[in-house]
Symmetry: C2
Subunit: 217 residues, 2 copies
């Protein structure tokens, strides 16, 4: 009984995700679903990435939070269009919430749309939103055992950003071990090591993103 | 329809949580439900706390993870009894999982039982397990905005441990702001600032725990 309820929810989600995907494709907008634990650096990554790209690429953001508009206000300061979703308790975004948020975004005027998911290393991985790339952030302060303990998100993601590498000297975390364990779960994972605080390594990520958007034009 | 399903799940959980609570009470074992984001330091806190208390108090641990027995193996090295729950995908423990784990624990021989929840700042807060105290950890690397964005867990917890204070000089995080915002959500929250890496501040937490266990004897 419980399983069939869950199955129905995921099937309904997938149907709307496919509609979202078709709309994104028709409007030639590339979509990144950005996921991580709380506080791993999703919003900081977006701030840095948008500053680097906004003069050449038209960027928009959908911000997902349980409540508050704190992150949308931070992103709004970069000058790009942003829409806040408040899930009202739910621990992940679903495709229906994104579909509603799209009513407040001119996607025909965007090249790149970031969807910042609720901070949660578990459930967001189960819900497709219609994105091109699931992208996850793991901060080194979370420890190098995370691919062993939360494998689904590593499995579903196309890109892994290992963030806060400026803190490596002060943590008991081996980033080589993160990579090795993550690649065991998902051998096709594209990995970048970055610090959103110092900016280290972000150029490689930004170049990769720029190339993905250009391919589509 | 969706709401009634969720309501039924929470009601069924509450019934079994009350049975667990009765068993804990009859066996005079104090129970802590330990919750946090992934990598905030739950297992490290348990290792430190158990080392400090195990010669005077009989401690046991239930480890909750989606998969793997990594944390149970770490805790097992302290010499105390430990049982691993693998949720097989679920993002939180429920009272039924705890009830099953109790079959493999001699609770009449324990004074203090820690239940380490799945790393998730959202859903674990909704599911009572029969514990005496919900205790949460927030690491300073997660940022001082977390009480604003994930208020339920701060609201439901009796104790907040602010961990990784050794990293404060290298983070853009104001711990006074964490306390102020957390107390606004929950004015009765008992707060400790600790570093499970250096040991700083752990004596206050351990003394508090010891006093709670002694009160019950």
């Amino acid at each position: 009984m419980k399983i069939s309820v869950v199955k129905n929810i995921l099937e309904a989600n997938q149907r709307i995700a496919e509609e979202n995907r078709r709309r994104f494709f028709e409007n030639r907008v590339m979509v990144i679903n950005l996921m991580s634990s709380p506080g791993a650096g999703k919003t900081s990554l977006l701030e840095r990435t948008i500053q680097s790209l906004k003069n050449e690429i038209r960027v928009g953001v959908i911000e997902g939070d349980i409540q508050s508009t704190y992150d949308a206000e931070r992103i709004g300061q970069t000058g790009v269009p942003v829409v806040q979703i408040n899930t009202g308790g739910a621990c992940h975004l679903d495709s229906n919430m994104v579909e509603e948020a799209l009513r407040n975004l001119d996607i025909e005027r965007l090249d790149l749309l970031f969807i910042e998911n609720v901070g949660n290393l578990v459930c967001p991985a189960e819900f497709n939103l219609g994105e091109d790339f699931k992208t996850m952030i793991l901060s080194v302060t979370e420890g190098d055992d995370k691919p062993l303990k939360y494998p689904l998100m590593f499995h579903e993601s196309s890109v892994l950003l290992i963030n806060k590498i400026d803190l490596l000297p002060f943590c008991d975390c081996n980033p080589d071990l993160i990579e090795e364990r993550a690649l065991k779960v998902n051998p096709r994972l594209k990995i970048f090591r970055v610090s959103c605080r110092t900016g280290e390594g972000l150029d490689r990520w930004v170049n990769w993103l720029r190339n993905q958007v250009k391919k589509r034009e």
